[in-house]
Symmetry: D2
């Protein structure tokens, strides 16, 4: 076993951090100003961040990606979510199932950070696990007409390209639709508990006409949805690590620099206990997430159940750590815009998005009970 | 033992609920529009709500007040907080320590809901437990000049009267200052994680001149602060019950009326389990809070340590219940403005305001370990 | 509302405590010596303990019983379990469903503590909820022949009378069988994690012949089993309070009287925190259990779901409190026979006996979600 | 990063498992029969188990040891504890601080499993952290006379050699005393909550006379005690993994093979949920423990604080997992001697032995808050 990031990985993280910090200059990206996702993409296009998972550079892998995700998510959860939905989810679709022509057309711009993608999946509720898709495409010569309604589309109003899941001749297909296509309408961005800096909206499609070469061809079964969920879960895992890291460091620094009753807050045992529990949760979550990313590469079959376990664990840890962090900051934590408050608002999302905590538990119960993490 | 509310109590709760519902008409009071606190006060002035604890009507007591608090807090946490800071905190100061003249001057209008009060206590941090007050008054003939800086003053920018804690000749006194007094300045209302509909701001006092009959005369020791903390804790206890009630009912109703995979959500065991845990926490918290209110009246000495226990328990329960509620509502819970999201945002406040969870634990440890709840 | 025990109740508790302490003289009753249950019964026959619930004296009720249970269980969990299985379970069967003749025959001796009863319910597993009974009786003139196998019968080897649940003409009946009846055989008492002082064994019945007047006549449906479960749950509730009380007091006293590093252990904040959490759990559990007992009398319909909530809460609390208690006692807690170690061993039983925690959660989910504790 | 055990490590685990299974043949080693520790040592002497950490074979390291510990502890916690106290604690003392002559004299027999060692550390309480040692040695020519009283000495009555911590000229030294030395007396083995198969007793030394070459020479400061604690913590970490593994597998197998209401128990969601939480805790604990073992080798400075975090996490996980396991087994889990009941009894020891959970939290708070697990 070996638990260290390589020097190349550490250098990559530092590069991301430096360039993004220069861009951010301490600004709060967690408000409803949606122009910043594209600016951030342009910056990240100069690092290796956007290549990971799509055309992974030599010497990197899934664990490198998880470490990079943690780095960005700690900086701004909203930018992170926007970027990941474009890169790892939309980009992953193109890289995995796209035709050669589709890959050539879209992947280079995605990896340079020149276009922003979105994926429109959920309909009636956030989870599609139990319900059939109602969105569908009808062929009309060299074109398809797509109609349907999607809820909770991240990047919905600002994406250049949307991958829309729907039925084509009774089977699931993914339709790539350009922003501006007649019949495509994104709703008003929702005001949300967290991730307010990521544009999340409904998207309605009313006979959106696209050429047939903008379809990712129909899938044999629903397993494509499982794969998309797996990627979403991976994104949420990275987010959880970043939220915890930001919240933990914020509370630790506050406790070291603020005083009460003549001594630094960290000298109060009740504060030190909370920090030590936060640290333990952060460390354990990191290990679990890295382990999961590693297994995704080395034995993908085993990884699905591991991912559910990791997602349940890390998202609950993120809620706890950010909540404790707020308590340490006390009054100043309750004021909007500090890293702990931002993390606390975002943490709950991780438990309901992707495979929800409840459904994850059912799935682990159903299928995973024969599996052992360490061979 | 007897665990029922009397018929008179039940009628009082219904009266509050009916009048407030007619006033609210489903509006969201959790946004930064601060005119509504006074409108709500006027409505509540027509019920017995504002009399409880100040000039308690025959047949009612502390448990009646706790039940009434729960009723209002479930309706709107922000209005509840504004009203309580005026009635039970500011009003409590006047009723407990005010001179006859002061009582006559202010109590009737407070109980009719004609004036809104505020109490300015905390300075450097939210908790004053470990730090001396810096605000002070200097006598100048028949007048006092008050200077100091207060953080986190609820109703700060909108109150008609502020009770400001400070030092007078080295001892703690409470200065009653009218809005508009020269030198009194409330800061911009904070944007906060929760309770956004309650105006919370800094308040600075720069040689505010008040006549000496607007002082609540100096106290022998710091125990007045303990009493104010106790009242704050009581207010937070009521808030916790209301938040849990609103969140629990919101999730239960959603689970009964929304379907997934062909059956109502409540039919999924993972959902039913969460609801059953939420119900248990709500019930237990109610019992604990009523018990505490009852002890406050029957054996006040024992009540302080019981209050710390109850506050720790009920505020943690409120966070759990509202968090679970959000998870049941999934995507729709994450959108701002629903009762579960509102409750989740507010719940954390209860753990840091009043005697914080951490300090409560220390205090229970210090002093209460000889006490047994049921004689 | 009123949360106090009456003076008569307090006097009754004191009487039980005094008489039992005089009997116990500090002996450890948690080892496999089963003669003591009958000695204890004789002592308790001189108090009002054995009358509660069977022929409740004026001025007492369900809450009095719960308080009395807590008192005895804190003294010796094993004796408590033996006595309760005889009095409230076996005795409850006779008092509720017995004929006048049966009541006359058995109740007076039960209430005087002259005979020890047992109830044989479970067969394949500890919970009968999902499985049909295999034990059955076949009529033969004025007699019945009973055959079947029972697991986990408390008092099995030492009871004078056993009430055995089985089928008679396809419906559930309760057969009262005397110790010594041909064909009745109790197995070797189990060695168990906890409650080692209560004789728990298998009981097999091989054509046990009893006169027909020793049958409690067949029931319309399985609801009799629900009632028996409810009583078992009530017994476990009382046990949980007693375990917590004993464990909490043991840890508190240890922490006050033992020193480390020059100061009493209680002066270490990590110890004081644990004690304060234990106290809160004990207090909350008491309230919940008393509330449940009160509801059982005042609105029995509502009480069933409340009982499940209370049982889940109080049995988990008992495990936590006794576990924390052990940690405070450290090495000396790990040595067998101290109150904390005894409580920790017994606590887990409460979660699996009666309606198990898992099944309770299902039942709350199924049926109880419309109920509100405080009217 | 790399999370796999090597083929050599896997082969080593299998060898231990096969040889020990052949020896154990399903016998219960958790009762007070203390001859078996030496038999087990003899078996293990034929594997590489006893060399790890003392004269580690090429290709193995700290993580290999942790995996081997988990394997043995899952088989029998009591044998494991006896063996480890001899090998890693007593043996570690000789290998680390012994003179060349001492190493030559004792290490080969230890690694062949021919002698059993013990370490006598604690005096008044289980934790020596806050209290000075009272045991001391007085030089008398070529001899030393050792006197003192030790509590909780594992292997105390059965060890061939005891390493006794005490003061020599005001500094801490370790005295190696042979069983049978005049003045050395081990008390009656304690009856304990768990680990009953390991002989734990008091040891008293009354002018035990040993030659000076049986002293491990005095240490500069108390840091030797920290190192011993670290090793104890490592042993407890391995125990926790083994307990969890045994309990989890026992519950999983039971749930698959037992039926209720016409279906296997595992088909009940409440059971499957518990199993999935147990699996997650086991997996996470494994990762944390391996990570800690790895850090102990690669950057020992950082490892101490990591060890405290890991110990708190893994020992609490062991209590939860074994407790849940018992609940799944229900009645049959409560009967003594099954793997779940054994694990539950032993788990609590991990929280109080070594650096206790409470003191670990203090220490993490004190010193470790600047540390980040993954560089």
């Amino acid at each position: 076993m070996n638990f260290d990031f390589s020097l190349a990985e550490q250098a990559m993280f530092k590069d991301i951090l430096d360039k993004m910090n220069a861009f951010a200059q301490g600004k709060n990206f967690e408000t409803q100003d949606f122009s910043r996702a594209k600016d951030a993409l342009a910056i990240l296009g100069k690092t290796q961040y956007l290549k990971l998972g799509l055309d992974t550079p030599e010497g990197f892998g899934g664990v490198s990606l998880m470490g990079a995700m943690e780095t960005l998510a700690a900086l701004s959860p909203s930018l992170y979510l926007s970027v990941e939905m474009s890169t790892r989810l939309f980009g992953g679709i193109v890289a995995t199932w796209g035709s050669s022509a589709q890959k050539e057309k879209w992947l280079p711009s995605l990896m340079k950070g020149q276009i922003l993608g979105a994926v429109a999946l959920s309909e009636d509720s956030m989870n599609v696990d139990y319900d059939p898709l109602k969105t569908s495409g009808i062929q009309d010569g060299e074109y398809l007409n797509i109609s349907g309604d999607k809820t909770y589309v991240i990047n919905g109003p600002v994406a250049d390209l949307l991958a829309v899941a729907g039925l084509l001749n009774g089977r699931i297909a993914l339709f790539i639709i350009e922003q501006g296509t007649v019949g495509l309408a994104a709703g008003q961005p929702f005001s949300t508990l967290g991730y307010e800096g990521a544009a999340i909206s409904r998207v309605s499609l009313n006979n959106c006409r696209i050429p047939v070469d903008q379809v990712i061809v129909p899938f044999e079964d629903r397993s494509v949805l499982d794969t998309l969920r797996l990627w979403e879960n991976q994104i949420i895992l990275g987010a959880s690590l970043g939220l915890m890291k930001a919240a933990y460091e914020s509370a630790r620094d506050y406790a070291k620099t603020h005083r009460s009753g003549g001594k630094p807050i960290i000298a109060y045992q009740e504060v030190a206990f909370k920090l030590s529990e936060m640290l333990t949760l952060l460390q354990t979550s990191q290990l679990f997430a890295y382990r999961t990313a590693w297994t995704l590469e080395t034995s993908p079959k085993a990884a699905e159940s591991l991912m559910w376990c990791a997602k349940v664990f890390c998202t609950e840890a993120a809620e706890k750590v950010s909540g404790y962090s707020l308590q340490i900051l006390a009054g100043s934590g309750f004021i909007s815009g500090n890293p702990s408050e931002i993390a606390y608002r975002c943490a709950k999302y991780g438990q309901i998005a992707g495979t929800s905590t409840e459904i994850s538990r059912v799935k682990i119960g159903d299928s995973a009970l024969g599996y052992r993490l360490i061979a």
